[in-house]
Every structure is written in structure tokens, then in C-alpha cells.
Assembly symmetry: D2
Homo-oligomer: 414 residues x 4
């Protein structure tokens, strides 16, 4: 047992931190402030990628701080999940970092899908520019009219018609679809409703300019639109794409979705850890700066106990996430379902709690956009729903625990 | 001991419910949607009071559903706090109701202050139009540069100069100051920094058009500006007002603030109870409507236990708030500090929790503005800070508990 | 709405407090210490009622501080439930008080059952000596081999055979059955397994000396046997009693059980409130007495916030319990199911929490029997299971909430 | 980063599991039942080590499953802390296991102290028989009259007088002192009250038969005396021992105590993890066995979510404890204070929670001694106080967090 990161990971962490300290953090708050002041709100057609962001992307790529997430040494640093996790934590400290280093959701997940399941043509046409950071993409799974946590509820269809596939249905919470560089989405729909439960769905690449694709609106989270990514509501009305756009073959959508989710959750959760560390730093700093009743805020009431509890919660969440990452590396995502579901519950919830406590320490300033706390909180809140609400993940874990005991096994796998 | 409301209160509750059902609720969601779509954001100079709201105010006043909060039978229905509490709960179910019935913060608190402490001239000039609903007002206490939970930190000054008082300082979270009808604020500042701790401050009426008053910006709460009220940052630069604008006399600001806060907290907390009931209804309805894994969401996992826990939490919060109201009626706010601090902690926290759980049941729709949950949540969140953060109220309660035991008394007052 | 107790209740509270202060509290700790030192453990045949307890009972009866629980002015002070609740809280501060004032479980429930449903002969023979305090009784419902929270699981039988009823089955957690004065039990068994779900069971009076009744052992709660009451495991082997011992008629057991539980829960819960107040007093006193790191324990870390949170929790639990009592008085237990289930969840849980926190303040002394905290904790713990575990009560509340919304009603009854 | 145990640890885990499955578990419940039935209670002079336990010890020693805790390859398997942790978890599943494998507290801590700081003579005379399992020992630090969490409160003295040291004072919660084989204690007392805060105390070996040592009583935890170890109250009245009994030299007591606590906490916490796994297994099994309302208990209400939450809590606690163990191995206990304090808070608290929930699933059987849950619960409860209450550990963590930020560092060490 060894909790130290590999030398390769440690070296990249150092480089990443240095890059962020020197190039990113000095401009970030001004940039975000300018976004707020531009007040583009949900009007995504006005959204921009600022020149500073583009310059930082170029610089990061040049420095080799790029595509950490892809475990393919031919195309990227080739880290495993547990190594990447440490970098994701660092990137989670900044709202801009993930895109700067070409590690932002949902593009990472889409690149992984194409890398694992894509045809050579799909890789050439869609994965390559994503890896280069020259285009962005979206993922269209969740639907407005049903409980999407149950995949069998899905109403959208991907129907074969000759050598074309016809896409129909309504999707929402399609993250990233408002990005000015977003060029395509991966669409998930039912191809054969009569097939076995896990062989009904297909994943299909759909260019956003295909006739019949209509972005209806961007959805806010606590009035925040996550510019320039956005969470879109998108309607597909008899959208026709060549069958060559189907990923891995018709009916394999569920399988791909399963494979996509494990690593994606590691990414999200490790970013949560980084954001939580940042929120805790803000909390402590504010508590040291301000005074009331003759003492620093941090010395009043239960504030020190609160800090200790948050430290413990963050450290436990980090270890759990790293453990899940290691399990994926060792036995694969399908055998690490308990661990992946566990971190999906824990990490966003810890982040929300740290942000909430930091707001209390800040007072009103914590609720406004004078601090990043409101944005951090909103991010945590949406993650408690994205990729399945907590209750679905609890059910996954419970089913496995009970199953193991039914067979007379220990309550624990390992 | 009798938990039933008085016949007078019951009659008004019925009338209020009927009015809201017939006149208010049918238009509310359209109105709020229109506000969102107008996307005025923090640009408060563009804020409006919609004609529908004005019409509803007129209709409510005509129906005698007006100024419930004021315990003066000559000017209002003349309810006590425990009777008013029931009506505040009903109004809390709607974002528009408080103003429609002329019971919105901070005007209620300001009217009470003027009613209790105002000179005849102050009543005539400022209280009367407030009672008529023709103007609105703000309250300027919290400051950006210090921990305002400790009044001795206050930096703003109200200095006597001849027969004028000169106001200087920065205030923020001045709620209501963005309202198109807002005409004046009650400003709190230090008059004599050497005086006894509770005799330093003064409260002064300041017309918003007085030279030197500058509204710098509106502060968002999770990007929501609470249009058309707003939480403003206001700078006062050598603002001169006649000494006649001082309320009750120089040095009496602290005393007035104390008296103001008890009833105000009852109002806020009872509105929280109403909003929590509404959020719970939304949660249950959504859970009955949607299906996953072959069952209604409400029948899955721990959802029923969650509903039970929320019901218990709401009922306990309601009883605690009514008890605090009754204590104010019987022994006055200063002897009910434990109870008032208790509800100030409990009610917003219960509301935040119910809203949070309802969001989980709604999925993404709960975070966007398709449901009122995000606005309810933001409202609860700001109330955990407004009028003092939870930790300050815990300190108030603890001090009294310990004090009682130090004197050998029981742990409980009554 | 009026939170003040009636003059009658207030007068009795004063008298009860005075009696406890003068007569009971001075001897209680010595008495309990002597019990511990006697180390009779679960050997219930050695259990005694100490002469001091007998003397106090006589004195209390003489003073008219007796049978407060019975709402019958002909036989008792004739208080309603909300009045009694206040007295139950006071009695809850002491382990001995309930019996001293003839208000201890399960005798109170048994007396109520006989008072409401008993025949004149049953009242004469069994209720009268119970009311006089000269005998004690037990209640045999819970069974060892099934989940007793579901009454349809009950395996014990009460079969009519000529003019006798034959009782068979195993019961446990039969509280009070170890008492030296325990003379009879009320036994619940299935009479007609084919009858409608609520008409299957009967309640039958069974003298403990009837052939076939065998007390197998006393069950400990955290190794505490609750001497001299005890929780017994009792086997009934073809026990024959005259049909005249059936209460209210065969098949009415379920109905009686329902009626029995409402008031009984009020009693338990209000005693919890009293015990919680006592535990909080102990916590505060200890925190003031001891020092560490140069300060009183009470001034360290989050201790003051903890005290505030406990005060709030206790006050909310008290109000909720009083409200449930008032509902029983006004509309009857069957229409107050939500409120009764709510307090059944809340009050023992608050007591356990207060006792747990007090133990932390005491350190090791809190776990041993040098303080009453371990006994208080054990009492709270068993109450979270007695009369139905929390989860069953949550289900009751949830079903009613959802039912109300299904009919389009508000989420709240009143 | 590698979460797998070393081959050496894995091999020992397998052997240990096999031994426990074959030899220990089959006899454990009968043995514990016999102890209960013997009803020796706190009468420690009657306590015995059962012949079965002695035989198992001999067998374990023979099998090389012995002294895992000692990181000295010359005297023991020579595991590091992270390797030992896995074995401690396994042993934590049984109440008997720790002694069977000569790994029970407080002997492990005492052996470590003697191994690190003892003179050759001390090792020969006291450590050797401890390592052989032929005697047991106690540790006398906590005192009844002061808050012992602050070492400067200590009142007991160890005064040099010629070539003897004179011990005076009262100690309690001296664990293990009731064991029939207990031969000596390590006593901590003040030698020089004027010395620098960390140089005042000495640790002295005191044979239990030295004149002036008086065991006054055994202290129960929820009426459980932890036979045959016990928590004793011991008075030292002018007890004289040769100066050669001082460990490491006068004034070094604090330093030794610090070093002792780190590994000891790892041991306790890992045993908590094992006990929590066992309690969770019991919970799940009971929930599958019993039915109510037509379904298995485990399928009712929030039970499955509860299981998931407990699984997550246990896994996080395990990872945190392993991480602390690894930190001790890498950088030493003094640099791992945050991690050690974190697990000291988390692990007992998780164990108490799992035991509490399992009791709810069991109903009354969970509170009695028919299941091991009450004993598990009591064990968890005492651990929340032993080695410092949670609040002291929170203060340790907070101080370090704040210190790091004061110096401009990140909120996290690594």
C-alpha cells in the first residue's frame, strides 16, 4: 500500500501548479468579473471564448500540459486514472483550468468514447480536433419529460432508415452545447425498443448544423448559465445522419454509456476536491481577516470545529475518489461500481457543504459574485444530480451489498 | 394551552387563502416568468412594478387584506404577533403576496419603527404613505468592510452639525432599495463612539434623493437580484438631513434595532414555513407524477422517510415560531431572545433543506427556473445570514442557558 | 393560540416540583446507587421495592399527587392530555418519580385500557388496585420470532374453548413483568386468523400465577435490567383463563391497541423532555466546573453552539409533544396519527442526542454509573424501538402526506 | 499510488482469517454467553481467563499469528503500520481476537513504549513476558478529578526521593487493570511542576503488588465491565519504586505519551472498521431474514439507502485510517497529527452509527445481549472518549489548518 503519487504524476502536478500560479490565477478573477459584467445571461449566441483563454490554451498545449485525462501514451501523457485524479484536483481549483488544459467535461468523456469505440473515420474527423482543442462537443442523454435516471424511460429514438439514422426527441441538460466552438453532439436514443434491456440504445454523432437540430434555450442553475458551456435544451426533429455516425454499432449505446461514466465521475469528483480545498482556504482566510466581539471570526463559537470537520470530510472524499480511480485502473469500471457510486454521492455533497459553510463565514459577500463561492456552490449542486441523483447511486451500492450477503460473502468485496 | 388560532385570525386566513387562490396564484407564475425573460438582471433602474401587481395591491387593500403585521387596531386589522404569524405563513407561499398585502420586508419593519418611535411629523410624512402602499423604503445597517454581526464594528457615522445630521459611510445588503417606489431609507450610524456601548448609534430617515446618496450596485444572491426589491450597496458621502429626521433621538439606534428585530424575524420565519409547505407539495407531486424502475419516484428508496422527516421538521419549526410570537405578545421581544434566536436558526435552515430535497426529486428542472425551487432556495440561503448568521444566534442562546445555570436555575426559563 | 398551561396544571406542576425537591431528589441518587451495589442484575426474583419508595408512594398519594394521567375526574385529578404532559415532563427528570406518583408505564396504559374498555368486574378486580398502587401489571405484545412492528405477524393465540380462553405463544420485552408487585399481564393474541385484518386479535387479562405462564428471563438494555420493572421474556403454554378476562370482547384487540398507544406515547415523550432537560443541566454544570487549556470546558471549541442546538432541539420536541397531546384532546388519537408518530420519532432521539453530548462533556464519568447519563441514554435508546421503530412511524407520516396530496389537498392537514 | 496490501500482509490476512474461522468464531459466542451468565459484573477479583482462551493463545502463538503490532522483525513479524492495520481490522471483528493474537490494548502500547524507550533490564523483566503473553499490563494516565484531556491538569506525582521514585495520586479508566494476569502498570505523574510544559511528567513502571497501590473499583461502560480487562479506578498512596523503573528518564513522560498514541489510535480505529463490517453484516442479514408488511425488512423504507450510507462511511473511515498508518510509516506520528486526530474522530463515530442502525434493524434483540451489538456499541462509545474526546482532536486539526494558512500555505499539507 502506497499513498504517494508516481514520480510522473508528481512532476506534472508541479508543472501544472506552476502554470496555474503564473499564468492562470492572475487573470482569472478579472476574466470572470468581465463575464458577469457583460451580462449575456442565457443568450448563448452572444457567448465568446475570450482571447486570453485561447492564448492560455495555446500556451498550455505548448507546455505539454494537455489532455491529461486520456490514458493513451500515443496521444497524450498517458496517465492512468489515479495519476490523472491528482491533476484533476488541481484543475478543480479554477473555473477556467479544465478547458485551458483540454480536460473539460463533456469533451473528455466524448474523446474517451471515440478513442475506445470510434471508427478510424470518426477518430479522424471528430476526436482529432477535440484532442487539439479546436472544437468542442456536447452529450445529449437526459430528457425533459421523463425521469432520466432510469435509461428504460428514454423516449428519444435513433432509427435506421436505409443507410441513414433518423434522430427524434427532446433532450436537455446537454452540457457544453452553448460553447461557440461546439460542433457536434453525441446523441443517445432508442433503436430497438423490443431488444434486451441493455441492447436497445445507440449512440450517434450528430453535427450541430444538421437540419432538424434546434437548440431551444439554455438552462440556468441558480440563474447561472455556466457560460460559455451552458446546459442546453435541444430538440431533434427527423435529423438524418449517415449510419457511419453510429458509434460502435447500433444497440451498443448502453454499454458505451456505462464505460463512459466511471472515469467521468472520477474527473468530476476530483475537481470537487480541488474546489473544496479552495473554498476551505477562502473560509479560513476570511475568518482570520475579520473580527467581531473582540476576536477573529475564526476563534468564535464552533468555527474551529467546523474547519476540522471540513478538513476530515475533504480528506476522506479525496481518498475515496483516489481509491475508486485505482479500482478502475486495476479491475475496470464495471467491477468498481460501489466505489464509483460512493464518490458520486460523497464528493459533490462535501463540496456543497464546504461552500455553504464558507458562505456563512463570508456573510453577504459569499452569496454575491464578489467571491467565487456562489459559483462553486451552484457547481456542486448540479453535480448532485448530473450523472444520476444520489438516491440512484445509493440503490446501486445497496443492491451489491445485499447481493454479496445473500451469497454468504462478507459485507465487503476486497 | 390552546393551539387553535383565534376566530379573528381564522377568518382572515380563510379570506387571504381565497384571495390568493382566486386572484394571485393564477397570474403569479406568468408574471415571474416574464420577469425572468425581461432579463433586467441587476440593472435596477430598469426594474418595474407590473400593472398586475399594482392592481392586486389595490384589490387587496379594498378587501381589507392589508397591513396585517401592524398591531394597531386604529391603522390595521390590529392582530397580535401570533395571529399575524398564521397570515405570514400563507403569504410565504408566494413571492408576490407580501407586497400585494403590504406586508413585505423591510417596509413592515420600517413601519413598525415609525409607529413605535416616530414623531408625529415622521409618521405623517413617511409612515402614512408606506401604510398606504404608495411608497417603499429600505433599511441601511450592514456594511461591506466589517463583520456587521457585531454592532460595535459599525463604521458609518451620523454626526450632529448644527440642526442637521451628517451621514457618512458605506452600506450594503440594503434590501428593497432597488424598488421603483423606494423613497427613503432608515440609516443607522455611530453618533457618539465614546458613549456607552448601547447608546452610540442613531437611526435617521434619509430620502434617497438627498445629495450624497449613491446606490452603487445591486448584489445578487446566487445571481438572483430579487427584483424589484434588490439588495443594494449604497454609499453615503456627507449626506445632510434635518435633525428632525432622527428617529426617537440621537443615540437610540441600538434600542430601536433590538425592538425591530423580534417581530421581523417572526415574519421572515413564518414566511419560510409557508414556502417550505409549498416546496414539500411540489416534491410530493413530482414524486407521484414521475416513474423510474417501474415505480413512482415517491415509492423509491428513502423518499417516503424523507417526506416524513421534512413534515416533522416543518411542523416543529412552525410550532417554535408560533411560540416565539406568543412570547413576544406576552413578555416582549427582549425576554424572548432565546426563542427568537432559535427560530432565526431553524426556519431558514428547514426551508433550505426542504428546497434542496425537492430539487433532488425534480432533477435538473429543480435547478432551473422552470420551478420556483431555485428562487425558494436562494431566499432561504440569504435568510441564514440576514439579521445575523446562525452562529451569532447560537451564542445568544448559549449565553442565556449558561447564565441561568450559573444562578442555579433550571436549564429552562418557563 | 395560548401556550400557557391551565391554572389547574400550573398549580399541580408547582406542587409536584416541590414534592420532588423536598422528598424525592434528596434520596434518589443514594437509592439508585444502592440498587447498583446490590448487583441483583437480571435475577428478578431478588428484586425489591425499597421501603423508601413505598413510603414516598404513600406520601404522594396522600398529597393528592397521584394518577395524573387518568382523564377521569371521578378517579383522579382528571387532567386532559396537554395538562398531564407538563407533569409527565417533571416526572421524567427522575427515574423513581413515575412510580411514586403512580404514573409509570406500562401500568398507566393498562389502567387506561381497563378504564375505557374494561367490564365492571375487571375494573373492580384489576383496575382498582392498580389505581391504588398496590399492584403492578405488564403488557405482552411483542414477540421474539417475528418483526412485531407488523401486527399481522403476531403468532401468539388466544383461542376460545368453551367459556375459557386458551393463551399460547412467546412474548418478550414485556415491560414491568419483573416487578415484585406485578400480578397480571394484558396478553394480546390472535383469536381468528381469518377475520378482517383489524378484527383478528384479542386482549386478555392473565394473572401471572396462572398455570402455563413462565417468565423465562429478563432482557437487558445495555446490560441494564430496569430493576424493579424489567423487560421479560414470557412463554404462555396452554394458559387457560375465563372468558370474562377478555377485554371488550374477542377480536377487539387491535382497536384497543390503537387507542392505548396515543396517550402512552405522549407520556413517554414528555418524560423524555424532562430527562433531556436534566441531561442538559448536567452537561452545562460539568462544563462550568472543569477546566482545560486555561478555560472552562464550556468555553472551548463548539461547546456553546452545541448547548444552543440542544436547547433548540428540546424546545421543539416539547412543543411538538404538547401539540400532539392537544390534538388527542381535541380530535382523538386516530386523527392525530401524524403528530403522534412525529413525537415518537423526535423525543427519544433528542434525548439520546442530549445524553450522548453530555457524556462527551463528562468524559469517562458519563459512561459509568457515577452520573445518571448512561441510564438516561439506555432509556432513550430502548424508546426508539418500543411502540414501533422510527421507520414504521416515518411510513405512517409519509402515507398520510402523500394521501392528502393525492386528493389535491395541501401538504398540511390543519 | 497503490491501494493493495503487500504480499506479506495479504498472506498473514489469509492465515488470520482462516484461524479465526476455524478456531475462534466457533467458540466465541458460547464463551461470551458463559461470561454473561456467570454474572461476575464488576467484581474483578472473580474474573478469569477461560481455558479455551488460553488454549487459543497458545495455538495462535505456535502458528506465528502473534505480536503483529510490533514493527521489529527480531521479535515479531515486523510489519509496518499500514500492514498491521489490515490485521487489526480482522481482529476487530471479534471481542476475543486481540488477546488471542497478543495484540490487545493497552498491552500493545505498553510493549511499544518499552521496546522504544525501555532499558535492557525493563525489556527483560517486563516486555519479554508481555511479548510472550504470559502477563498483562495497564496504563494509568486519566484522573477522576480533572479534565484529563489537558495534560497540564494532571495531579498525580512521581517524585524522586533518593534512589526511589514515590508515586501519589488517583487514576481511573486504567484499562486492563482487572485482568487476572495483570502484573504492572505504567504510571504517569508530574515530577517537576516548574519545568517546561513538555518536560514535567515521568512514566514509571509500577508492579501492582507494590505497597500503596489500591484498585478501588472497576468502572462500567453502559454497565459493561469489559471483563476480564476492566477499566479501574486506582489510588496510589506513597508508592515507592526504584528509580530504575522510570522509563527513559525523569521528565520524558510527555514525549513518550505522544509517541505512544499515534500507533495506538491506528490499532483502535482499524478494529473499529472490522467491528463496523461485522455490525453491517448483522444488519443486512437480519433485514433479509425478517418480514413485515409483506416485504423483507431490508426492502422497507429507507433501509437500502441506509446500508449504502453505512458502506460509504465505513470505506471512507478505512481509507482514512490506512492513510494515517501510511503517514506514520513515512513521516512519523508527530507529522501525521492531523490524520491521526481525524481517524480518532471518525472511526469510533462510524462504528457507533453502524451499531446504532443495526440495533434498529434488530429491534429489542439488538439491545439485549442476544446479539453482540450492545457490546459493540459500548466499545465504540468509550472510544469516542478514550485517548482524548473528539473536541480535543478537532482543535488539533483546526490549529494546524489555520497555522498553514497563516503562513500563506495551501489548506492542505501534501
Amino acid at each position: 500500500m502506497d499513498f504517494a503519487h508516481s514520480p510522473r504524476a508528481l512532476e506534472l502536478i508541479e508543472k501544472l501548479r506552476a502554470f496555474m500560479r503564473e499564468h492562470l490565477l492572475p487573470v482569472e478573477s478579472e476574466l470572470l468579473k468581465a463575464r458577469h459584467e457583460a451580462r449575456r445571461g442565457g443568450d448563448w449566441k452572444q457567448w465568446i471564448v475570450e482571447p486570453e483563454v485561447k492564448a492560455l490554451k495555446a500556451k498550455a498545449r505548448e507546455a505539454g500540459l494537455w489532455n491529461f485525462f486520456l490514458p493513451d501514451p500515443a496521444l497524450a501523457p498517458g496517465l492512468n486514472h489515479v495519476e490523472y485524479a491528482a491533476l484533476a484536483e488541481e484543475m478543480g481549483r479554477s473555473f477556467l483550468a479544465p478547458e485551458i488544459f483540454n480536460c473539460n467535461a463533456p469533451d473528455t468523456g466524448n474523446m474517451e468514447v471515440l478513442w475506445k469505440y470510434g471508427s478510424p473515420e470518426q477518430k479522424e474527423r471528430w476526436m482529432k480536433p477535440l484532442l487539439a482543442g479546436s472544437i468542442r462537443s456536447a452529450f445529449c442523454m437526459t430528457e425533459p419529460d421523463v425521469a432520466s435516471s432510469d435509461a428504460t424511460n428514454m423516449q428519444a429514438t435513433a432509427t435506421l432508415d436505409g443507410d441513414e439514422v433518423v434522430l427524434d426527441g427532446k433532450k436537455w441538460w446537454s452540457s457544453g452545447i452553448g460553447h461557440p466552438d461546439c460542433r457536434f453532439a453525441i446523441f443517445m436514443g432508442v433503436t430497438d425498443a423490443q431488444a434486451e434491456r441493455h441492447a436497445r440504445h445507440s449512440m450517434v454523432i450528430v453535427p450541430l448544423d444538421a437540419p432538424g437540430v434546434r437548440i431551444v434555450r439554455m438552462l440556468p442553475v441558480f440563474n447561472d448559465y455556466d457560460e460559455p458551456y451552458g446546459h442546453g435544451e435541444v430538440h431533434f426533429d427527423s435529423v438524418r445522419v449517415p449510419q457511419a455516425n453510429v458509434i460502435a454499432g447500433l444497440g451498443r449505446g448502453f454499454e458505451i454509456a456505462q464505460g463512459r461514466l466511471g472515469p467521468g465521475r472520477i474527473h468530476h469528483c476530483m475537481r470537487c476536491i480541488g474546489a473544496a480545498e479552495r473554498a476551505l482556504e477562502l473560509l479560513i482566510d476570511r475568518g482570520m481577516e475579520r473580527q467581531a466581539f473582540g476576536r477573529r471570526l475564526i476563534d468564535l463559537g464552533g468555527n474551529q470545529e467546523r474547519i476540522a470537520d471540513l478538513r476530515i470530510a475533504i480528506d476522506q472524499a479525496r481518498l475515496m475518489t483516489l481509491y475508486a480511480a485505482w479500482m478502475i485502473d486495476k479491475v475496470g469500471a464495471l467491477k468498481a461500481l460501489t466505489e464509483i457510486s460512493a464518490i458520486k454521492i460523497v464528493a459533490p455533497s462535501v463540496l456543497q457543504r464546504v461552500a455553504d459553510e464558507a458562505m456563512q463565514m463570508f456573510g453577504g459577500a459569499g452569496l454575491s459574485n464578489d467571491s467565487p463561492l456562489a459559483a462553486i456552490f451552484a457547481h456542486a449542486r448540479v453535480l448532485r444530480l448530473a450523472d444520476g441523483p444520489d438516491s440512484v447511486h445509493r440503490a446501486v451500492i445497496a443492491r451489491r451489498e445485499i447481493g454479496r450477503r445473500s451469497k454468504g460473502g462478507g459485507s465487503r468485496a476486497a
